[in-house]
Point group: C2
Chain length 268, copies 2
């Protein structure tokens, strides 16, 4: 009897020894260095899409070539609206006395992410308004969205980038009447901000609100609740549903209502 005990303990001993060493020597330490990083950011260049009434991105060369001293030198000046390309909407964009870009605590911009894939609803309907029910349904399948999650909605609009007509619904300068793309409804924004207390939200369209919105209720609800928004995201389709960390670092514009955003996902 004692012998059996000893043998059992011995077997479990080596099993546990292995489990204890793996995190020290194995995957964890090397994974630390080798974690897969996916860039969710569109580049800023002459093709970058902006809201029809906003200043688009310009890069003006200050110098490019050899100097008289013989060395190479390149330098440019950039300019744009805060709100275009892959960017952050600070809560202050649509809510008075809420966080500007430089006020947002970093732990609201770095945290566990989930992808809510709604392409089967959005792709057939460019005016699709994302409802609270869409998240209820998602939670039924994948589990409750935890507090301080970063929720990324995959609409599929990324595939239209950089065609202005397909992505925005219109390519007429200044035309805000014929914008067509999906976005959050007021109740979806309320659900995520208040009931789920998410850290931030993002999606692969030009705006938190859908194209046909006239009152920007989603922006206002998220802004009021100090929930930052990430817009014009890229490659959300390359992410798993869960099991990744979002690292979203905006240019630190003092008192900015928004800013160009470099956002990546780090896969577990």
């Amino acid at each position: 009897m004692k012998q059996v005990h000893a043998r059992n303990y011995r077997r479990i001993f080596f099993g546990l020894l292995f489990s204890a060493l793996v995190p020290i020597l194995g995957p964890n330490s090397s994974a630390q260095a080798e974690k897969r990083i996916i860039d969710l950011t569109h580049p800023f260049d002459e093709t970058t899409l902006y809201w029809p009434t906003n200043k688009s991105f310009h890069l003006d060369s200050a110098h490019r070539g050899r100097t008289e001293k013989g060395y190479w030198y390149e330098s440019n000046d950039y300019s744009a609206s805060e709100h275009g390309g892959t960017h952050l909407d600070a809560p202050a964009h649509f809510a008075e006395n809420r966080w500007h870009v430089d006020d947002i605590p970093l732990d609201r911009l770095i945290g566990p992410g989930v992808v809510v894939d709604l392409r089967f609803k959005t792709m057939p309907n460019p005016d699709y308004l994302i409802r609270a029910e869409d998240f209820h349904e998602w939670e039924h399948q994948f589990g409750t969205i935890l507090e301080n999650s970063i929720v990324l909605v995959l609409t599929g609009w990324d595939q239209y980038w950089p065609s202005k007509k397909d992505y925005l619904g219109t390519d007429l300068p200044g035309d805000v009447e014929h914008l067509h793309f999906p976005g959050f409804s007021e109740d979806a924004a309320r659900f995520l901000a208040r009931d789920r207390k998410v850290s931030a939200v993002g999606l692969d369209t030009p705006s938190l609100d859908y194209g046909q919105s006239k009152d920007f209720k989603a922006h206002r609800v998220f802004g009021e609740a100090n929930v930052p928004g990430f817009e014009n995201l890229h490659q959300l389709g390359a992410l798993p549903t869960r099991g990744f960390r979002v690292i979203a670092l905006p240019m630190k514009i003092g008192k900015g209502s928004g800013a160009p955003l470099r956002i990546v996902a780090e896969l577990d």
Copy 2:
């Protein structure tokens, strides 16, 4: 005898059970969420320091206040030179056919960091040229700088920010003759880029080269070797010598020679 064995195994069994469970239930999973993040970035605003010949940062309000529909709306346009404030120097800045901002692989911008504190040498001498020997000495004390490290040099210049006169050495517009601050010598750049194969370098001064440089040899050596540089870093003094990860995410300027950089350190 058997009994002793069983007892020993049992004791080690519970010890290992604990070590095996800790990474699953304990510090690791919670540390994931609670890692301390330090922002190494100066904000971009009217006080942000730029090279005397470069365009400085401007934020122009497009709208700020209630709209006629009753909701709050704030939006701005920004403009600046790529090279000012806390920013990235892409290798292409001083080397032909090397990486532009959007070419730099993310694993060169995210990785283990070390701080080389040279304040005792730099603070008494604003024209201090950082030598390869400074890194030899540091390695003698703290160990070899590993391949793919991100090396941050603490000169102490951060304490002069945002006084243009103290930080740059001159506050005369366009004056590049009286720039005084420390920077990398050519041999220091060569040592880090070639002998240590670092991923990136950074420091808390306006430039990789020292203020009195006329030929920008450090930029050229780092650029040639495709080593990105981080300039005008903030709060390096708040970091430990080792045991942190640098996450340096520049605005993704297509074909940029540099870009505003949001850079943070994540402490183990």
